[in-house]
């Protein structure tokens, strides 16, 4: 009786972990390891291993110009959408920092894009971008076929992404700006630190942990975008909007070419791991924790 109770006590914490770990192992670690193993083999269309391939699948993916195009597009996507949406959001947060009577109204308006979904926003922009009846062409007197012109397609998707990111980034920056003590800011401005200098020398270092968090989050998100491409362009025209995820998705689901898909997935992991480590180095140099 007593021994049984003691075993129960030892087992207790593990019991609490069982539900979580069933899913964490089943849907994070198992697919990761399985994908890694399969990528080293040639598999048939039923994903049965035919022969060991070593790194041959990787060589094939790495010599596929479409893969480079997808990686390049994803990099451009991240390099443009992340900083632009953060700068705009910072500007809005500075505007909204001081609480005023109408604060609640424009705060909600500035942040609202985070409550919308990729799919709904995509169909709205699809109508707005339309060549013939789109409001954007009508407003600016242009006749650009935004989503079907290789020159503009990726830009069009990036504009949607920037718009979508602003709300989330704004909300974070606002609460971190409001968390700054008024005394520090007043002291700095008394010392002659005003305008742009006040922001670059005083405020940005103070909110840098928050900026870093947003940077990581936005990069991780940007590296795995797919919805806008899948809904609006299907990767076209001429592959100019293909991203790493849509490349994998189309190889695996649309054309059941698993040998490419599994190797590309592992390369995608590696690329995002490198990017995350690079941001960590940036953190060591630039982020000030108080």
């Amino acid at each position: 009786m007593k021994a049984g109770k003691r075993i129960g006590k030892t087992l207790e914490p593990y019991l609490y972990l069982v539900p979580s770990f069933i899913f964490l192992i089943g849907f994070v670690y198992y697919p990761f390891i399985k994908n890694g193993w399969l990528s080293l083999n040639i598999v048939n269309q039923f994903r049965e291993i035919r022969e060991f391939a070593g790194l041959r699948n990787y060589v094939r993916v790495l010599s596929d110009p479409e893969f480079y195009q997808a990686v390049g597009n994803t990099f451009i996507y991240v390099l443009v959408t992340v900083p632009v949406s953060m700068v705009i959001a910072y500007f809005l947060a500075v505007l909204a920092r001081k609480k005023r009577k109408a604060s609640i109204v424009y705060e909600v308006l500035f942040a609202l894009s985070m409550a919308t979904s990729d799919a709904v926003i995509a169909v709205i922009f699809q109508l707005m971008y339309s060549n013939q009846l789109g409001v954007i062409n009508k407003l600016f007197g242009t006749s650009i076929d935004w989503l079907n012109d290789p020159k503009y397609a990726l830009l069009s998707l990036m504009i949607i992404q920037i718009w979508h990111n602003i709300g989330y980034n704004f909300l974070f920056m606002l609460s971190s700006l409001r968390g700054l003590s008024g005394e520090v800011l007043e002291g700095a401005s008394l010392d002659g630190c005003t305008g742009l200098k006040l922001h670059t020398k005083v405020i940005l270092p103070l909110v840098s942990p928050m900026l870093f968090f947003l940077l990581l989050k936005d990069i991780a998100y940007g590296m795995t975008v797919s919805s806008y491409t899948l809904i609006l362009t299907g990767g076209g025209p001429n592959g100019t909007t293909q991203t790493i995820i849509t490349y994998i998705y189309q190889k695996a689901i649309t054309s059941t070419n698993y040998n490419y898909a599994f190797a590309a997935t592992m390369l995608g992991f590696a690329i995002s791991a490198v990017l995350i480590s690079l941001s960590m180095i940036l953190e060591k140099k630039k982020v000030h924790y108080t």
Partner: protein, 282 residues
């Protein structure tokens, strides 16, 4: 005295002008959503007219009537709701149990297991979807609610966030409660959880909005029309098979936006607080 009054009035006017400017800026930023709402009240001829036409001629409700009568919009919304609600609830339960073990117990392998939880936060879920899709198929869960929810039932980030919150809780209170004959589970259920209301609400709400707005996974694991979620359906409305008009697509978009915007406006403060708590040392 009078000059001071004049100055006060001037600052007040400036403040009002500033706020008006901010509201205007907010409206410009939200132009796509406003445009969508306006189009949903337009007749098709107004939308396809060649000149710039932003304000509907009348309060035309035909698009909404068409969406309600010609599509199974309420069924799709119910699908989305069930998936978002149940998986968010499950996430709260699984995360709380795991966080409880990690906060209040010492056991062999604790650090390793916690590292495994943190590890899942670096792996992008989108890159696992293809393998998870096969697993879901092997489990026979394609076109089921369980299949649509299965990858959302646990989140490493949520376990981490709730653990951070539990750690603020003094350990001796639990020890005292246990000495007084309060069972461990009873303490968890009756004392710890009720005291952690805010963080649980944050996890639930942000998870709900997350799952409600998700697109790729429900697209992959469903192919029967009646199992589609609203996010998948909206992108199919203006494809050739359903051949809906633009006004109807916009009306459907408004109907789909309402729940997530309502949740967001109602709980904005709570969501922010929770996100902040997770960000501080995340």
């Amino acid at each position: 005295m009078t000059s001071m009054e004049a100055k006060q009035r001037q600052t007040r006017l400036l403040s009002i002008a500033f706020q008006a400017f901010c509201i205007l800026l907010g409206l410009v930023l939200m132009a796509p959503v406003i445009y969508c709402v306006l189009c949903s009240f337009m007749q098709e001829s107004e939308i396809v007219s060649t000149d710039l036409h932003l304000w509907p001629d009348g309060f035309y409700l035909g698009n909404y009537i068409a969406v309600i009568t010609q599509t199974k919009i309420f069924r799709f919304m119910l699908n989305s709701f069930i998936v978002a609600f149940v998986s968010s609830l499950a996430r709260v339960v699984t995360s709380c149990l795991a966080a409880y073990a990690f906060t209040f117990f010492n056991f062999r392998g604790k650090n390793l297991l916690f590292l495994l939880v943190l590890g899942t936060m670096i792996v992008p879920a989108e890159m696992l979807m293809v393998q998870n899709y096969f697993t879901t198929g092997e489990l026979g869960l394609i076109n089921t609610y369980a299949g649509m929810m299965i990858i959302y039932l646990v989140s490493g980030a949520n376990i981490f966030l709730i653990r951070q919150n539990f750690m603020n809780y003094p350990k001796d209170v639990r020890d005292a409660a246990l000495v007084d004959g309060c069972g461990s589970l009873r303490f968890f259920w009756r004392i710890l959880l009720p005291m952690s209301g805010p963080v649980l609400a944050t996890v639930f709400i942000s998870s709900f909005v997350n799952v409600w707005t998700t697109y790729l996974w429900p697209l992959m694991v469903t192919n029967k029309e009646e199992m589609r979620t609203v996010q998948v359906v909206i992108t199919m409305l203006n494809s050739s098979e359903l051949n809906s008009l633009y006004g109807q697509v916009m009306a459907a978009a408004v109907v789909i936006l309402i729940p997530s915007i309502a949740v967001f406006v109602l709980f904005q403060r709570r969501i922010t607080a929770g996100l902040m708590a997770g960000a501080v040392k995340g």
